[in-house]
Symmetry: C2
Subunit: 285 residues, 2 copies
């Protein structure tokens, strides 16, 4: 079952708000959880953000993000490792369900994808004990293949599952983001394989045409072509009981009043939850 | 072994030329083969194009393209089937090595990817006997997942191989296009699986940032981040002995003088062939 109580608002959806204003927005709209971004938390102050979320009774469904592990220099890799440990500590302080990892693309100056993927695996392995000790769950996110070169060489959910499976499920899981994985013919099978390891479920829609900056080509749930009902049913079927985070990168939505955006997010999510429930009613007892 | 004798110029690389001018360009630059597009062939006239290519001793490595099978109405599907049969006859008249099939995206008004893929499979099955009789080899092309919604629901080479494998290898094969498949962690395995079924090998590079129209974000070989040497070695390793077709959609390249473009295409291809040979020398006898 999924309903409005499981909605989380990723603050990237209301990009212009600081962390504290985004927390207030969730409270005003009776949204129970939020996904935060490190840069916004840093601007507001980690302690102030923790205090505000706690005072509001707001759950932190994710902290975005660690990762970007692929660097040619050992010194840059060490700096990335240090930054990721800092991210783990922030996630721990916030009590976030997961620290989202966007792995990084090709190593600068190299066309060697296997090298990039090896570097990512090594860096995750290096981070795991620290995360385990901090009680933080890492979420490996597959990004759409159009970001493979410059942002994330983990291009399919199945790759994220394969990587996560090398580590304890308590510490390393995967992120299912509808925008990045919807096209994959193996999606249902890979979500099944991810059972017990889905640490974050993020939603937005794929709208056409893609805008000039393809990072921003995302839409409100229902405005695009992704079968969100089907994917949500798969994620629930894999036993995921966490929050469903709406995360939309879209200049037009960013330019809209945040309260309007929150209202649309809630309404569209309620529609989706209703469609999921109608298609797969709870079994009778 | 790969060398300049195996270079083919896809005429989309010199978009402003008609078919006959593109044929002349290949002759001027001692390029042995060309990939033609149906719209350009229609403009020049099929018979005139056949005659010009024959007179020039130019091989036709591919005809682009059939496909676009996904339609909500039976009447539109029937029209697409008729158009594909016409494309088969054109490919036969041209003696093209393959008719390239771009399958089509989601069925208009539907978010049901499995439905689109089923429709594609059914349409290919319907076309196969006709192609077989005409002696034309169909090439199923996987397009990059960023085109899944609107152009091609076959998003990975492995999907194309799975579909092709349902039919005789003499009639149905796959296209390996570096731009569409380079990011895929399973690429090497899928190229292996495609052995005996690769009917076209197309090359261009992935350049960043992606332009506003993501169809046009392709570059000359070596200008982007694809490991073309590695992929070419995989394709050769799978026993492919056909032409290697350079196909670049890029407004800047289209705006350049066609002779300059042909010269760059040749020079870059020679560099690539040299790198492939250097990395994997012919076995001593």
């Amino acid at each position: 079952m999924i309903d409005l109580s499981r909605l989380s608002l990723n603050q990237a959806t209301v990009q212009k708000l600081g962390a504290l204003d985004a927390i207030d927005l969730c409270v005003r709209h009776d949204i129970a959880a939020i996904g935060l971004w490190r840069d916004k938390v840093a601007q507001a102050g980690l302690a102030a953000t923790v205090a505000a979320a706690r005072a509001a009774g707001l759950h932190i469904s994710s902290l975005c993000r660690g990762g970007f592990f692929t660097h040619a220099d050992a010194s840059r890799r060490a700096a990335a490792a240090a930054d990721n440990r800092a991210a783990v500590l922030e996630a721990a302080a916030l009590g976030a369900d997961a620290l989202i990892l966007v792995a990084g693309g090709l190593v600068p100056g190299s066309k060697d994808l296997p090298l990039a993927r090896q570097m990512i695996g090594d860096a995750v392995a290096d981070l795991v004990p620290f995360a385990e000790q901090a009680g933080v769950r890492l979420g490996i996110e597959a990004l759409h293949p159009m970001f493979c070169a410059d942002r994330c060489a983990i291009s399919r959910l199945g790759e994220a599952v394969d990587l996560a499976a090398q580590f304890p499920a308590d510490t390393v899981g995967v992120v299912v983001d509808t925008y990045h994985v919807w096209w994959d013919v193996q999606l249902a099978a890979d979500i099944d394989r991810a059972a017990g390891r889905i640490v974050s479920y993020q939603l937005c829609d794929w709208v056409l045409p893609l805008p000039q900056d393809v990072l921003l080509g995302r839409g409100h749930l229902g405005d695009g072509c992704i079968d969100l009902r089907a994917i949500t049913a798969m994620v629930l079927g894999a036993g995921y009981t966490g929050f469903a985070e709406v995360e939309i990168f879209n200049q037009e939505i960013w330019d809209a009043p945040a309260d309007d955006t929150a209202a649309v997010v809630k309404s569209r999510f309620a529609d989706l939850a209703g469609a999921v429930a109608a298609a797969a009613p709870e079994p009778e007892r």
